[in-house]
């Protein structure tokens, strides 16, 4: 069938970047940036995002991009946003990409400060659940039982509930999204773009390298995360109004876990406890809606 020409949004991400083959982050960045458009300023901090954004003197982003320090993605974005306002360019959105390490651990206090002041920017946490570009070390976004280089027997702590932390700041908008549901992700970026104040996106983007999966499995793992309720898609408005965006198939967590080598060592009782925790979280989320 001859495919009809269709109009497509401009691409902001360029080829030639250094992401691993099948990188979920690259997909996520690409989708976010297409939705954001090419009139924007982007902040990146050390993380796989920074690897993808290009080595000096080359850039993978087709928009002005500021490469800041690990712990200050949020205040950097806030500063740029303020500066643009002073210049009268308050129609240019500022978006910060940080990894889970830069968000859950290292950048948390500066993010909290910026969110507390309700600074005007979009913050996208690209969560691949460990410090991947430094060689797969555990972060506070790593789920319990997951293998990393620093949790060789499986992580003993549970994943930090970043969405609740952000909700506690009562920011106008916080949402989860994932690369498996491109339309939902795109709609959320567009919605965030139309709002003002601190907007937070928690984006799950599976990492074939760190999750020990085949290269082509990132989108599938992301879908599985949602369909098993491990990573539900929802929004929080003003810190209190919850909306669930997708009614999952409620598949058993094995559907998700079995795709990934980082869970290969799980014993049946571990799977059971992951299932129990997932169910509890899901019930808790539904209760809040």
């Amino acid at each position: 069938m001859v495919v009809k020409a269709q109009s497509r949004p401009a691409e902001v991400l360029r080829p030639g970047h250094a992401g691993c083959p099948g990188c979920g982050h690259a997909m996520g960045m690409r989708m976010v940036l297409r939705a954001l458009g090419n009139r924007a300023v982007v902040v990146v901090v050390p993380s796989c995002v920074a690897v993808i954004s290009g080595p000096y003197p080359y850039a993978a982003l087709n928009v002005p991009m500021f490469h800041s320090a690990f712990e200050i993605a949020a205040p950097t974005a806030a500063g740029i946003s303020q500066a643009l306002k002073i210049q009268g360019k308050d129609d240019i959105p500022v978006l910060a990409f940080a990894g889970d390490g830069g968000t859950f651990d290292i950048g948390l206090q500066s993010l909290s400060g910026a969110a507390d002041r309700n600074e005007d920017f979009i913050y996208v946490c690209m969560d691949n659940e460990a410090y991947m570009n430094t060689g797969i070390q555990v972060s506070s976004a790593t789920p319990r039982y997951a293998w990393t280089g620093t949790s060789p027997m499986g992580n003993t702590r549970r994943k930090k509930h970043i969405m609740e932390i952000m909700a506690a700041h009562r920011i106008p908008y916080a949402a989860t999204a994932c690369i498996g549901f491109a339309d939902d992700l795109t709609a959320k970026v567009k919605k965030a773009k139309e709002m003002r104040g601190t907007r937070f996106l928690h984006l799950l983007s599976p990492c074939p390298t760190g999750w020990k999966m085949e290269q082509h499995l990132s989108p599938k793992a992301a879908v599985a995360a949602v369909e098993t309720n491990i990573f539900p898609l929802y929004e929080i408005f003003g810190g209190s109004e919850y909306v669930i965006n997708y009614r999952s198939k409620g598949l058993p967590v094995e559907t998700y876990l079995s795709l990934q080598g980082r869970y290969r060592h799980l014993r049946p009782e571990d799977v059971k406890s992951i299932q129990a925790e997932t169910d509890r979280n899901w019930e808790e989320l539904k209760r809040r809606v």
């Binding site: 360029r14 250094a18 992401g19 083959p21 989108p219 369909e227």
Partner: protein, 578 residues
């Protein structure tokens, strides 16, 4: 204005002005995706080789003209098949393994109802080779249609006073409304095909037309009712099944008072019984040799008949017809203990002590039909007492004469007759041009065959591999929505039996669009852009003016196979750098 160094951004922070496109990451891997369209299992299972994914995609977009046009690529009778086909396509539909097959047949009917399209011509190389077709049933019409599309002047000769074969004179109106067939027929005739009705072809005539034409296709069906040696057969009120159905379709019989006994366990028997019911019979009983589970009639026909108040007696064979003053009044049956002998041949054995006596004002004998070769007696065709054809080319032993449909196979189905007509058409076309048919067929065989695509033989579809069939396992089921197959509207048994209204209520437009949207469009690219959007390298190029495929940019593609993994129809496949 020049800034002091300590304020000059160019000096205090390094600025990247180059693009990462200088890095040719395509060297990282030798794997590359290929946009390779494939065949859907439904299409491979349809004897006519209908282009179902294209048709259903158009329908899902509300474009019924294109949907009809896609069906017309391979078959002249989408309205008819959409009403009465036994739809093997649905049995093999990939969605059947998910939440119930797509309503393909009903959607074919919707395309015929709501669409308007002119069949796409195939070639004009047949111009100088006139072909004669004997019989205007689905096999004859299909051959004529495809031959005309290849440029051949076609004349059809039909013994009856109207065209259509069993479509016109047997299949009851409650399953195939007259208007539906007429719309198909009109479209076929619009190709400039002439049909001479009222002329029965015999050996002499056959020799005559054979001399005048480049080739002849014989599709005279299997319409001779088998007559059993049963005492009382010539009583008034005893009718062969096909004669009865024909009388009903000709409106010769408009009412049937009294008790009706139908003998036979096949679809013809069931159609006869249901027609009798609609003609107002007081009581209709079907008696067959087989036990309930072994009846050759389709389950659906049988259960419809039950709902309409028809009684069934299983395991009885007719012994004699009894009459009052030359009119049938009763039938006596003997218990049938087995239908086939130990070698599997039809040879019923009876338990003579057991008998059943039924009152009958009418007895309809529907115990089977066979091809009638007697008109061609004295011709090379009849040498063995039946026509023999090459299964691939459908050529008979008589040079230039081809044959197919029920006439060769015995009673089968409309879609198989259409398939035979199409096969004969291309085979005759090759024969007249002196080209081997096997090569033509081989190129467009769908899956393992025997279905093939005549359309794509003349209009090749670039990048399509007709032989590889998309299996359910090739589709990423995690990404599929759940939308169970819905049962469709039908008249209630009471509404049905008040006349010959169509039992299945055709889909309305909105429903048709919705049901078509359930199709996965297996193996057919719909331009959904998923492969493009998910490429983490931004290096899968979408179709444009220069190329109608999605394809990898060799300079940057890292061969990760994400595009192939996210394709919901199994089109993107991994290969290697060319």
């Amino acid at each position: 204005m020049s800034l002091p160094d300590w304020l000059n951004p160019e000096k205090i922070i390094p600025i990247s002005r180059g693009s990462t496109t200088v890095f040719k990451t395509g060297t990282w891997s030798g794997n590359r995706p290929e946009h390779r369209e494939k065949t859907s299992p439904c299409r491979a299972a349809c004897p006519a080789g209908n282009n179902i994914p294209d048709a259903l995609f158009a329908a899902s977009q509300g474009n019924f003209d294109d949907a009809l046009s896609a069906f017309l690529e391979e078959s002249p009778l989408p309205g008819v098949c959409g009403s009465v086909c036994y739809h093997p396509c649905e049995t093999y539909c990939n969605r059947d393994k998910w939440d119930g097959s797509v309503h393909i047949r009903t959607l074919e009917r919707a395309a015929a109802d709501y669409g308007n399209a002119i069949p796409i011509p195939l070639a004009n190389s047949g111009e100088r080779y006139p072909v004669a077709v004997v019989g205007s049933g689905p096999a004859g019409l299909s051959a004529a249609y495809h031959l005309a599309r290849m440029g051949h002047p076609v004349s059809v000769i039909e013994a009856r006073d109207e065209a259509g074969g069993l479509l016109r004179f047997a299949i009851p109106l409650y399953r195939l409304p007259q208007g539906v067939f007429q719309k198909d027929l009109k479209r076929i005739l619009s190709l400039g095909i002439s049909i001479n009705t009222g002329e029965k072809v015999g050996t002499k005539k056959l020799e005559e037309i054979r001399a005048k034409s480049s080739a002849v296709f014989i599709a005279s069906g299997a319409q001779r009712s088998i007559k059993a040696e049963i005492p009382g057969l010539d009583l008034e009120g005893v009718l062969p099944g096909l004669d009865f159905l024909q009388k009903v379709r000709r409106s010769v019989l408009t009412e049937l008072p009294g008790k009706v006994v139908v003998i036979g366990g096949g679809n013809v028997a069931v159609d006869a019984a249901r027609s009798a019911r609609r003609l107002g019979a007081d009581k209709v009983e079907v008696v067959c040799l087989e036990q309930r589970g072994d009846m050759p009639a389709h389950e659906r026909e049988w259960s419809d008949a039950l709902e309409e108040g028809i009684l069934f007696h299983y395991g009885w064979g007719p012994k004699r017809f009894l009459g009052k003053r030359s009119r049938a009044s009763r039938v006596e049956f003997a218990g049938c203990t087995s239908v086939f002998d130990s070698k599997g041949r039809f040879s019923p054995s009876y338990e003579e002590d057991e008998s059943l006596m039924l009152d009958a004002d009418w007895v309809i004998l529907a115990i089977g039909q066979v091809p009638d070769i007697s008109p061609y007696r004295a011709s090379p065709l009849a040498e063995r007492g039946f026509v023999q054809t090459d299964p691939i080319t459908l050529a008979t032993t008589w040079e230039g004469v081809f044959s197919g449909g029920d006439f060769v196979t015995g009673p089968r189905s409309v879609v198989e007759a259409i398939a035979a007509g199409k096969r004969a058409a291309l085979s005759i076309h090759c024969y007249t041009l002196g080209k081997p048919f096997s090569e033509a067929e081989e190129r467009t065989l769908l899956g393992d065959g025997p279905g093939f695509s005549i359309h794509s033989f003349f209009h090749p579809r670039e990048g399509w591999d007709p032989k590889s069939v998309v299996r359910f396992e090739d589709i990423e089921s995690l990404c599929l929505d759940q939308e169970a197959r819905r049962s469709l509207g039908r008249l209630s048994p009471v509404e049905r039996t008040t006349g010959f209204h169509e039992v299945d209520i055709p889909l309305d437009l909105r429903e048709a669009v919705q049901q078509a949207g359930r199709c996965f469009f297996c193996g057919t690219c719909t331009g959904c852009d998923r492969c493009f959007l998910y490429c983490p390298e931004v290096s899968l190029l979408p179709p444009d003016e220069n190329c109608s495929f999605y394809r990898a940019d060799d300079a940057f593609c890292k061969g990760c196979a994400v595009c192939a993994a996210v394709c919901p129809r199994g089109v993107m496949t991994m290969g290697e750098v060319k």
